[in-house]
Symmetry: C2
């Protein structure tokens, strides 16, 4: 996707792996085609292609833990993206130090050891140890919301509100993650392909939303926002007139015989 | 506090009450002196003086429900203030349509019927019905964080991210409030003046924080931030070396004989 710069990135990582005698796997995907076919955003398609590659590699190499390099600034940016998109609390805590994800029948553990390290600390380390590195060429493009948040909004907030703003948002995101972990443990199991309308209705509203989010994620529905959750939740209404609602990625939720299920 | 402009505000409301044949009570307080004496911010002192007046009036008039005029923009601003101060999730949902508060021995119900109405809709209504009104003279002062958020940050976010940003933050705040309501119902009762260390330790971290917040609020500790909660939580540590921590408003939490209590 990034063309020549992307190929140079790959060569750089390949040489680095050789130097450290580490195994090296590389994959590519036509992200634009996936996005069009599945009716999802380019960003979501890229993320899904990435995780499909992780799952495939994990299976082939017989390992189950993926380490990704998200750092504290990534966490803050993700928090703000989710907030600005109205994801609701569950979405606010999307990144955790340890999380699990089932992809193509493989249970992967995702570890993010740098989540409490700031980008600046990494830059300082890189400078101190004179490490060679490459900057992702797409980072400077202000079209993606993440880059506008990184280069415009966070600096503006620091100037207008104060230096500690990133630390404070980071802390809120960490608390949200701790709470989500606990709330998840309180939720009914979501391994079934369908949901009982009666059981869903018995939960408090806040838990209905969380239960639907957990279930939709388990069914691999992408880009689940508040609207999607509320649409599915409306299927459980006692006097619901609609029995089918649309979901991202050209999928549908349907209610029949006291059950909600996906198509 | 606002001097001449404040006196004119009061006269205006008095005339309005007379016109609608409504009872009218007025109170004043030396907020600066309260803030200095209790070592709290001017904003907090003003809020406490306001609620003390509400409680006193409620007792005298024998009514228990207070209607306040916070609107949707206030909710969004409060959410951002709490986020930028690192209040954690519980703080994010500070405003609810209906909440209760015990002040000076009186249980007050606080109703906010305008929480889902935008300032612009109120302005439109006022214009349409040619209602007379007064603007709070302190609104234009950019020193308080709230006013910088209102006049600078929200417009900047709308320009940089998109028009729907306020609606999306509003939605997140409402979800947070629904979740807080449910989490509150899951918490142990906080009516006791002390907390059992053993019981606190038995809760998941997320609930420990929520339980402490609920308890500190019940004990009328003001400006409870994440730091204050974590300090009190540290008293419950199995190998805690400190038995006393500072809280806002010149108060202290202490641990003795397996209990945490305030001084």
């Amino acid at each position: 996707l990034r063309g020549r710069s992307s190929a140079a990135d790959a060569r750089f990582v390949g040489r680095l792996a050789a130097k450290y005698q580490a195994d090296f796997d590389i994959g590519s995907a036509d992200v634009r085609a996936i996005a069009e076919k599945r009716k999802i955003s380019i960003e979501t398609a890229a993320r899904e292609a990435r995780y499909a590659f992780f799952a495939e590699t994990a299976r082939r190499r017989n390992c189950r833990t993926i380490f990704v390099a998200h750092h504290a600034d990534d966490l803050v940016e993700t928090f703000l993206i989710n907030l600005f998109r109205g994801a609701g609390n569950a979405g606010l805590s999307a990144m955790r130090e340890i999380s699990t994800r089932r992809i193509d029948g493989i249970d992967l553990t995702i570890a993010r050891p740098f989540l409490c390290v700031w980008r600046k600390e990494i830059d300082d380390y890189v400078g101190e140890h004179r490490l060679r590195f490459r900057e992702d060429a797409t980072n400077k493009n202000l079209t993606p919301l993440r880059n506008r948040i990184r280069h415009r909004i966070v600096p503006y907030l620091e100037k207008t509100v104060g230096r500690s703003i990133r630390q404070n948002i980071w802390r809120t995101a960490i608390i949200a993650a701790d709470e989500e972990k606990w709330i998840d443990s309180e939720l009914p199991d979501s391994k079934h392909a369908d949901l009982s309308v009666v059981k869903l209705r018995a939960l408090p509203i806040a838990l209905q939303r969380r239960a639907l989010l957990k279930w939709l994620r388990k069914q691999n529905v992408s880009d689940i926002g508040f609207d999607a959750i509320e649409r599915v939740r409306s299927l459980a209404d006692r006097d619901a007139r609609i029995a089918k609602v649309n979901l991202p990625g050209n999928r549908h939720a349907r209610r029949r015989a006291g059950k909600i299920f996906l198509e």
